[in-house]
Symmetry: C2
Subunit: 105 residues, 2 copies
DNA sequence: ATAACATATGATAATATATTCATATGTTAA
DNA sequence: TTAACATATGAATATATTATCATATGTTAT
């Protein structure tokens, strides 16, 4: 680790701070975390997610919308069903990093 | 990446999900994010942090307390001043990871 | 002991957030 | 085209969160 991992406050704009906070905020809810971990296994449709989380469909859809809007998950339609999956590998990295942290207490 | 980065929902307890969400929630506020990035440079006392963020002392102290309670920062007293610093390298990893993510859009 | 300074904290008000309920939209099969 | 199913969405309520203000606590110098 030379210098690339060091940050000066001035290097980051007000907007970037807000974006970054907003990104983490998405991860800051256990329902969304559960959905994301579930999608580690691969794509899943809404009913499957509801079943796994034992939550009602509306609550899950609302959270899926938030995850989708923030581009952490993507969706494809197959017939009546909507299949959700993780948008990219950063999501995995961030989750793994967080998991490591809480496990080392 | 073989299997160690894969998660099954059952591997993680309800409590762990909540802990994980709680961890990310801490990062989900731009004031706290700014403080954490500031502390990348090294320790800083409360007045210095207030100056850098142009925020009043009470707001900063409240956020420092949250950061401290969640063990993301630690504090040492030197005379009248309290010096805060990052608690460990996970904080850096998580921030870096998030920063990477938002930069690649 | 007291004044001056640095930080912490409790209460409050404003704002944001998550879930629920009711209902709308979209899709398929009959 | 209508019924049945899957998902999305708007409104409302309950709860959580943040910044501010006022004040308390802790530290040092006089």
């Amino acid at each position: 680790m030379v210098h690339s991992d060091d940050f000066l406050l001035e290097d980051i704009s007000e907007e970037e701070f807000i974006d970054l906070a907003e990104l983490f905020k998405i991860f800051g809810d256990s329902t969304r975390i559960k959905i994301l971990f579930l999608l580690f296994k691969g794509e899943a449709n809404v009913s499957a997610i509801c079943d796994e989380l034992s939550m009602n469909q509306s609550a899950v859809s609302h959270q899926l919308k938030i995850l989708r809007t923030s581009k952490l998950v993507k969706a494809r339609r197959a017939g009546k069903a909507m299949y959700y999956s993780l948008a990219d590998d950063h999501v995995k990295s961030i989750l793994s990093m967080g998991k490591e942290h809480i496990e080392e207490d």
